[in-house]
Structures are given as C-alpha cells and as structure tokens.
C-alpha cells in the first residue's frame, strides 16, 4: 500500500511531502520564521500608536491573510503545481463561501441597523395601534 502510494505520480493529498531528504525540516523552519515574523508584526501594529489609526484594521487583515498563505504553503503543502489542482479548487470554493457568508452578513446587518426603526419606537407604534 505504501509502496503504491510512494511510486504514485498523479495527484497529491494536502499535507503530502515531496522531498525525500531532511531538507523538509528546512521548509518547515522557513514557514515558522515567516509566520513568527508576521505574528510579531501584527501584535506590534495593534499595540503601537506610531501608525495612523484608521489604517490599522486594514493592515491587520493584510498581515493575517499573508500568514494564512504562509501556513497553507509551508505547513499544508498546498502548491500551484499540476498535482494539487483538486486541493486548490476545493480551497478556492471554500474561500468563496467564507467570503460570501462573512461579507454578506456584515453588509446585510449594517443596512438593517441603519434603515430599521429603533426598537422602542417600533414598540410604541404597536401599542398605539
């Protein structure tokens, strides 16, 4: 079974490793260093007052997305190679749904908050009727 899997050269599973030497450890180390750097930057950005306030959430989002990319590439071994097509397509679909759920919820609820009558006035109307 494992021989069959090792000699197989079609698709790869997510998390599968390609290299046969211990250079793989170096791959994880690069990922760890990059992730640590991005995390430290995020915490520094959030706690410092040196930066322009309204820009901080955008900066934090960019740093978080970059770090997720680092995790996907260096820890989960998702690549753009031909053997990863299935994994990347599934990931793209997942990202699409996540985007729709989060942005759609925030958009709709912000509109409701803005347009709907405040709750106490609504109660008053029902009592008067």
């Amino acid at each position: 079974m494992s021989d069959q899997a090792d000699n197989y050269r079609g698709d790869v599973a997510p998390g599968d490793e390609h290299a046969t030497t211990l250079s793989e450890v170096g791959h994880y180390l690069i990922g760890l260093v990059l992730a640590l750097g991005l995390t430290a930057t995020s915490f520094w950005v959030a706690s410092t007052h040196a930066l322009w306030g309204p820009g901080i959430p955008i900066g934090l989002c960019v740093l978080a997305i970059a770090q997720m990319g680092i995790h996907l590439v260096f820890f989960l071994h998702i690549t753009t190679g031909p053997d990863n097509t299935n994994n990347v397509l599934a990931l793209a679909f997942g990202v699409l749904i996540v985007f729709l759920v989060v942005v759609g919820s925030l958009w709709i609820m912000a509109n409701l908050n803005r347009d709907m009558m405040p709750m106490d006035e609504l109660m008053n109307m029902q009592i008067q009727r």
């Binding site: 079974m1 494992s2 069959q4 899997a5 197989y8 050269r9 079609g10 698709d11 790869v12 599973a13 997510p14 998390g15 599968d16 490793e17 211990l22 793989e24 450890v25 994880y28 990922g31 760890l32 992730a35 640590l36 995390t39 995020s42 915490f43 950005v45 959030a46 706690s47 901080i56 959430p57 934090l60 989002c61 740093l63 978080a64 770090q67 997720m68 995790h71 996907l72 820890f75 989960l76 031909p82 053997d83 097509t85 299935n86 994994n87 599934a90 990931l91 679909f93 997942g94 749904i97 996540v98 759920v101 989060v102 759609g104 919820s105 925030l106 609820m109």
Partner: protein, 225 residues
C-alpha cells in the same frame, strides 16, 4: 501539425499541463475517470479530509460573522478593549504556532519510520497544545469571575461561542493526538495509521489557520478600539 512539432522538440507535447482532464496526451496515470484507475487510498483519504476541513472552516466563518455583527452590542457592559490581555494572547499564539511546527516535524519523522522522534515531536505538539488550552480556560475563568460571562451581553455571547468553539476543536485534537500516539506505539507505522496521522496533522494546521483569523479579528482589532 502537432506531431511534427513534438518530433522536432524531441518530447511529447503536453496539452493539458494541469491535468484537468486527467488523461489525454499528457500521459498522466492518475485518477478516477482517467486512464490510470482509482487513486491510492492515501490521496482519497487526504482529499476527503481536506473537504471536511474546508466545511469546518465554513462553519467557523458563520460564527465569525455572528461575532462581527454583535461586536458593538455590549449592552452597557465591558467592551473588548476593557477585557483583553494581549500579553496572554501572544503567549497562546506562540504556543499554538510552535505546536503546529512540532506536528510538522512529527510527520517528517513518521515518513522516515522513526518511532522515537515521531513520539517525541507528537508529545511536544500535545504539551504546547495543552499550554494553549489551559491559558484559554484561565482567561475564560477570569472573565466570568469579573462578571463578564457569556450572559452579560450579546458581544460576550459571541466571544465565548467563537473562542470556545476553537477551544473545543483544540480539545478534540488533543484527544485525537493521544489516541494516535497510543496507536503508533502499539501497532507501528501501518499504512492506515499513517493515513490517520496525516489527517490529524491537517486538522492541527487548519486549527492554527483559524486561530490566525481569530487573534486578528477578536483580540487585536477588539483591543485597539
């Protein structure tokens, strides 16, 4: 026409380099409906678990959206900036990241069929995960003791649901990790156990990705306001 070009170059032309059709002139021996027959079980299990992880992340996205909508609904109670201790969150983040790294090293050792290093790195993974979990539980107990429990406001309900759901995943992951260590110890590196270990490492790395979104949106953005 194509054939003559291929002859001049000296190797067959690959018309479908990304193998979307899984066959044809690329000479691919893979998957499912193509020439090569079904893929090995390791590939199928890994892909299936990847689909599960993505659906789990979609579930998290619904809880994230709920939290984001309720973030301002503090009902006169404490807001995030009054409650969150970023030093604690930094230590949690470090321990989870290093735990993910140790899990990767355990997978490398398992592929080399090295029992000692596999068990050692899995133990490091588990210890760091337990440190993360105890810090989180300590934070929860502290918040509840200060009267900022999940009943206090919609914001805090959302907070405890989101962070608690991630913590619940970590707890399940730790149970799974203990089971895997026992199975590897008792039965050795059999193909089915290696597949389970691969799924566990995917699960653990995915939880770290969810934590990245969590500490950014909940703690860093919440503490900044």
């Amino acid at each position: 026409m194509n054939a003559t070009v291929a002859e001049r170059v000296g190797r067959p032309l690959i018309q479908d380099p990304h193998r979307l059709g899984h066959g044809g002139d690329g000479g691919d021996r893979a998957v499912g409906h193509g020439d090569g027959g079904p893929a090995p079980k390791k590939i199928i299990v890994g892909f299936g678990f990847w689909i599960f992880l993505l659906s789990d992340i979609i579930m998290f996205s619904a809880i994230f959206a709920t939290y984001a909508v309720l973030q301002g609904a503090t009902a006169g109670g404490p807001a995030g900036s009054d409650l969150f201790d970023l030093h604690n969150v930094w230590v949690e983040t470090l321990s989870l990241l290093l735990s993910s790294f140790a899990c990767g090293l355990a997978m490398i050792a398992a592929h080399r069929r090295n029992m000692l290093w596999t068990q050692l790195w899995l133990l490091v993974t588990g210890v760091l995960g337990a440190i993360f979990l105890s810090l989180e539980l300590h934070e929860f107990a502290d918040l509840i003791a200060r009267g900022a429990g999940p009943q206090r406001s919609a914001f805090l309900s959302g907070f405890f649901t989101l962070v608690g759901c991630h913590g619940l995943h970590i707890s399940c992951g730790l149970l799974w990790l203990g089971t895997m260590m026992a199975q590897i110890g008792a039965r050795g590196f059999r193909a089915n156990i290696i597949r389970r270990l691969m799924c566990f490492s995917l699960f653990w790395h995915a939880l770290d990705i969810v934590w990245v979104a969590l500490f950014t949106i909940v703690y860093l953005m919440g503490a900044g306001k």
